[in-house]
């Protein structure tokens, strides 16, 4: 595999565009963005840790209730009053309604176990949840894992059904999860691969293994700003070429940015012209009008 090299960023004007990109939150405070404080990344390990923490909290609460009872009893005895009632340990609430959330479970599927056996350290976590298989791998090994999934006769995942990413601003150690949904048509199975990438990391492009990843990776770049190494055409796909920012990031204001005060022709045309001039300049073409004098 070739060394992942940073795709050249086009030279953009330094100054931030004025007008339509600025939104006055003081005028409408209800439109302020609320950043998430938790990392709702589904994972067996976090689920078990959460369960353990909840059990520990319950235990601590029970111990405190007992201690409180002891002090109350001693106080009542000293004052010659009736002893207070001993505390009853609260029974954990039964979660037996129909709308139960399926929790992450230990991986039992042969595919996941095979992946772990073949890849060893490169697998960070495997688990099943609601019958879906998830395999989290290290961010540097994703191309190798995809190759294995596609080419191994026992796995044979022919299709990359979807590739997407999520922003986790509250997480430490990573900022995004990039998710690959693989489908095996011949074996009628689905598998989810996941990598966690920090800001600025360039995951290897999946185009070499699944050519259909091309546009999906462009969409991820457009919406979340994750660039992929060795991608044939790492440009925006949905937003205009001269767009600023990445709209699916959690810190991006999605409400209240409607283009109200645009002076359409000057703003956009001027900027696109500038980009065209720069691009032409890089190719050695001088598009500028010759001066009269």
């Amino acid at each position: 595999m070739a060394e992942p090299d940073v795709p050249p960023t086009p030279d953009m004007p330094d100054e931030a565009p004025a007008g339509p990109y600025v939104y006055d939150y003081k005028a409408a405070p209800n439109r302020q963005i609320v950043m998430p404080k938790t990392v709702p990344l589904p994972s067996l390990r976090t689920y078990l840790a959460e369960q353990k923490a909840a059990a520990a909290a319950d235990e601590a609460k029970w111990l405190k209730m007992q201690a409180d009872f002891e002090t109350a009893k001693a106080k009542a005895e000293a004052e010659g009053k009736d002893a207070p009632k001993p505390p009853v340990r609260p029974v954990p609430r039964k979660d037996d309604n129909d709308m139960k959330t399926p929790w992450p479970q230990e991986a039992k599927d042969a595919d996941l176990l095979l992946l772990q056996e073949r890849l060893g350290d490169k697998v960070e976590e495997i688990f099943e949840q609601a019958g879906e298989l998830t395999c989290q791998v290290t961010k540097d090994s994703i191309l190798e894992v995809l190759q294995l999934c596609r080419q191994d006769a026992a796995l044979n995942y022919e299709m990359l059904a979807d590739q997407t990413a999520t922003h986790y601003p509250a997480a430490t150690g990573f900022a995004f999860s990039v998710v690959y949904h693989l489908t095996s048509i011949s074996r009628r199975k689905r598998l989810r691969l996941r990598i966690l990438v920090p800001e600025g990391f360039l995951p290897e492009s999946a185009c070499a293994v699944y050519p259909g990843a091309n546009w999906m990776e462009r969409e991820i770049y457009d919406m979340l700003g994750i660039r992929f190494a060795n991608h044939p055409d790492m440009t925006r796909i949905l937003c205009p070429e001269d767009w600023e920012g990445y709209p699916l990031r959690k810190d991006y204001p999605t409400v209240g940015w409607g283009q109200r005060d645009i002076s359409f022709r000057e703003d956009r045309g001027g900027r696109l012209d500038l980009i065209a001039l720069q691009k032409a300049g890089q190719l050695g073409i001088n598009l500028k009008q010759p001066k009269a004098d």
Partner: protein, 169 residues
């Protein structure tokens, strides 16, 4: 011959103004450009189909090129990326030309007070008739179109080119 009696000439002639004839011919053959942006375009297509039959008012011939069209029905959400295309199409239409903004998206951004939507197509091109609704029913579109016909009938060449005439002097 009395002044109130019709002359032979008047039996075979209609006297009118050139402007009125032109307005009449324009108002009864407004050809829209085939161009839809979002869900409202479905209602526009329904208005053109046989149940509502837009053609009754002389406006069913949706032209596939802006060069042959007089009317642009902006039916749908105007995104920031689509705006230059709309502007180009509008510029390509020959004068006289009219614009109907159909639905709340095209009139004011609709439910999308968001980063990608232009809050009303009148930010980029002049609009003659606004039709509210999300989506407006074909009847609304036809009503809006008839309002446009009224507007065309009362318009005058001098009004339309007043600025130019004033400039030329």
């Amino acid at each position: 011959m009395g002044i109130n009696q019709l002359s032979t000439l008047e039996h075979i002639l209609i006297t009118t103004k050139v402007e009125k004839v032109m307005n009449w011919s324009r108002a009864t053959s407004v050809w829209p450009v085939t161009f839809g942006l979002a869900c409202c375009a479905i209602e526009m297509m329904a208005a053109g189909a046989s149940r509502f039959d837009f053609d009754r008012f002389g406006s069913g011939i949706f032209r596939a090129t802006p060069r042959q069209a007089d009317l642009m029905i902006i039916a749908g959400t105007v995104t920031y990326k689509m705006a230059p295309v709309i502007k180009t199409l509008y510029d390509q239409m020959p004068e006289p030309k009219w614009v109907i903004a159909m639905g709340s998206c095209a009139t004011a951004g609709g439910p999308f007070d968001s980063y990608h939507t232009i809050q009303g197509v009148d930010k980029i091109i002049p609009v003659d008739v606004f039709i509210p609704g999300c989506p407006p029913r074909p009847e609304s579109l036809i009503y809006g179109f008839m309002k446009l016909q009224d507007k065309i009938m009362t318009s005058s060449l001098a009004d339309r080119y007043k600025d130019i005439f004033e400039e030329v002097g």
